[in-house]
């Protein structure tokens, strides 16, 4: 009897735990969606702030939307340039079994855990040395630091799933390592790699702490690498900080825009991941 009671009790407890987490997160999405939808209109997404926007004047957050996209897209492209070689290097075909690979793995794990605010502070320090002020370039540097470890780790996991036999078949045909990577491994892993890139992109576009010091904020659309640029997370943050309810409402709308962008990217990348399992050669 005691065993039964314990069994039933803990099963209920586990179910309740899962339901409460999922329920709370659903509540979060609903609260943001409902509050955001009320303030959302075409003007919000199609215009930059006009005079007196922060005193409840007219305009929208197009500056932040385009700014966020510029920041995240550029940082993601730069991060790919480093993350992909690092992921390739960590395979046994290249340096995967060397001591140096152990070092790279350890440091990658370390970088992955470093809080974005620290990257922001470090990026700011770098900018001081380079004589840069808050700008798109500064924001891209900091965001690249944030995205690089996320992307490299995800890519390495994808490359690790490529069957050894597939590579060996390619080597047996006389292909070089690079040809094997280029025409066999990367092709086979492409959907997974795209998922990794989108994962990092999603983390980059939602990150406020890293761009706070480095990218600054502006009411203009992004124009050059050396000028400050607005971003959606900071738009939410700054608009919430104003004392005007109308402006705070716009923070809700901005948060909803950000949430939709992130969720759409996330779902897209998941669908791509499914594609991977569909076309697996040796399954």
């Amino acid at each position: 009897m005691r065993r039964r009671l314990e069994e039933v009790g803990f099963r209920t407890l586990m179910l309740m735990a899962l339901l409460s987490v999922v329920g709370a997160l659903m509540l979060l999405i609903m609260v943001v969606a409902i509050n955001g939808a009320r303030a959302l209109n075409w003007e919000m997404v199609s215009q930059v702030p006009t005079g007196g926007y922060y005193l409840a004047g007219g305009g929208g957050v197009l500056n932040a939307i385009t700014g966020s996209l510029a920041l995240a897209v550029t940082a993601t492209v730069v991060a790919i340039l480093f993350a992909l070689p690092v992921a390739l290097f960590l395979q046994s075909d290249y340096g995967g079994r060397t001591r140096f690979a152990v070092v790279v793995r350890t440091y990658l794990d370390l970088l992955w855990g470093i809080p974005p605010i620290v990257y922001g502070a470090f990026g700011f320090t770098l900018m001081l040395y380079m004589g840069l002020r808050a700008s798109l370039l500064g924001g891209v540097i900091a965001l690249t630091f944030v995205e690089l470890p996320i992307m490299a780790r995800a890519m390495e996991e994808v490359l690790r799933t490529i069957p050894r036999a597939l590579k060996e078949a390619s080597y047996a045909l006389g292909a070089t390592r690079w040809e094997t990577m280029r025409w066999v491994v990367l092709r086979q892993a492409m959907p997974g790699l795209v998922t990794a890139v989108l994962l990092a992109f999603g983390q980059g576009i939602g990150n406020a702490a890293a761009v706070l010091f480095t990218a600054g904020y502006t009411d203009n659309l992004p124009r050059s690498l050396f000028e400050p640029v607005a971003s959606l997370p900071l738009a939410v943050f700054f608009q919430l900080g104003t004392p005007f309810p109308e402006v705070q409402e716009r923070a809700y709308a901005s948060a909803l825009i950000l949430l939709v962008i992130v969720l759409v990217i996330s779902i897209k990348s998941r669908l791509l991941g499914r594609l991977l399992s569909k076309h697996n050669v040796l399954d």
């Binding site: 979060l28 609260v31 992955w112 470093i114």
Partner: protein
């Protein structure tokens, strides 16, 4: 023949060289990060001893007094509250997902949990302001005031606003839970089916199997999941900054405002260049975060690795 092989060889060599070279970016970045932050925090360490900085409680940058203790206590308090709330709930939820949920529920919920892990911090912060802070201020604090006033750390002062350690902890608990669930479930899934089946065939109920077999086998991984969550929570900035009140004080209860290290850095970057040593103090704060988070992450990675190795046997 040579002419046809040669370009391929060149291509192969240059690709290999590029891959090796770019891999150096990872250790270089790490070391550069540590050196850069250390160099920038040296000025303040020259005037004050590290022990003094970490144990003093007055924070008056204008007067040149930099006591980090309130911020360190703030960070620890918020993180502990978040972990006390999220760790048990997340582990139970992960256990349900791994061993009790039907395959349909799992294929539905698992991607959902991963999806929610990607929601930006400011959105969690906004949810905190709209829902959690009012809930704490209007319901939880008055309840604690009338029923729990004799419990240390749980008795609010008069007129608690809701912008408090508890609100920060609750928001962070919610924010980190998809992450902890995901890592913990991976650890539980890594246990070979045969091990559980052996226990079930001996007549153990499924909960007994979970309690005596799964939880024990996956223990390092589960601890690793919680520690990883802990270090994520420690470094979280925007969500906690928006709900925790940001008052530099040593809090007396979880209904008091606090001022975590991350919020200190984020809130003061604007004026840090105009006050002497202020920028150095903030860089020291970043360095502290870096060291602490690095320590916890390293510990967690070791634990997660341990469980993978055990499962691989």
């Amino acid at each position: 023949m040579i002419s046809r092989i040669f370009p391929r060889l060149m291509q192969e060599r240059s690709a290999t060289a590029t891959i090796w070279l770019l891999s150096f970016a990872v250790p270089l970045l790490t070391v550069g990060l540590a050196i850069g932050l250390t160099l920038r925090s040296l000025p303040i360490l020259r005037d004050n001893s590290l022990i003094d900085l970490l144990t003093r409680t007055t924070w008056r940058p204008m007067a040149g007094e930099f006591g980090f203790l309130p911020f360190i206590v703030g960070t620890i308090a918020v993180t502990l509250v978040a972990m006390v709330i999220s760790a048990p709930i997340c582990l139970l939820a992960a256990l349900h997902l791994a061993e009790y949920a039907g395959s349909q529920t799992r294929t539905l919920l698992r991607p959902l949990v991963d999806l929610l892990a990607g929601i930006p911090a400011v959105v969690y912060g906004l949810f905190g302001i709209l829902v959690v802070v009012p809930a704490v201020g209007r319901y939880i604090a008055p309840f604690a005031e009338s029923h729990l006033y004799f419990v240390p750390w749980l008795s609010p002062q008069q007129h608690a606003t809701g912008y408090s350690i508890l609100a920060g902890g609750m928001v962070l608990a919610l924010m980190v839970s998809p992450f902890i669930i995901s890592v913990a479930e991976d650890a539980l899934q890594a246990i070979p089916v045969g091990v559980r089946e052996a226990s079930l065939s001996l007549g153990a109920t499924s909960w007994e199997t979970s309690k005596y077999v799964s939880l024990r086998a996956a223990l390092p991984g589960l601890v690793g999941a919680v520690v990883l969550g802990f270090s994520r929570t420690l470094g979280e900035t925007m969500a906690v900054l928006m709900v925790v009140g940001n008052v530099a004080q040593i809090p007396e209860s979880i209904f008091d405002s606090a001022y975590p290290l991350t919020a200190l850095i984020a809130n003061n970057y604007g004026e840090m260049m105009s006050i002497p040593l202020f920028d150095s103090a903030l860089m020291l704060a970043s360095l502290l975060l870096l060291v602490v988070v690095a320590f916890f992450n390293f510990a967690a990675q070791m634990l997660v690795l341990a469980v993978r190795k055990r499962a691989g046997e």
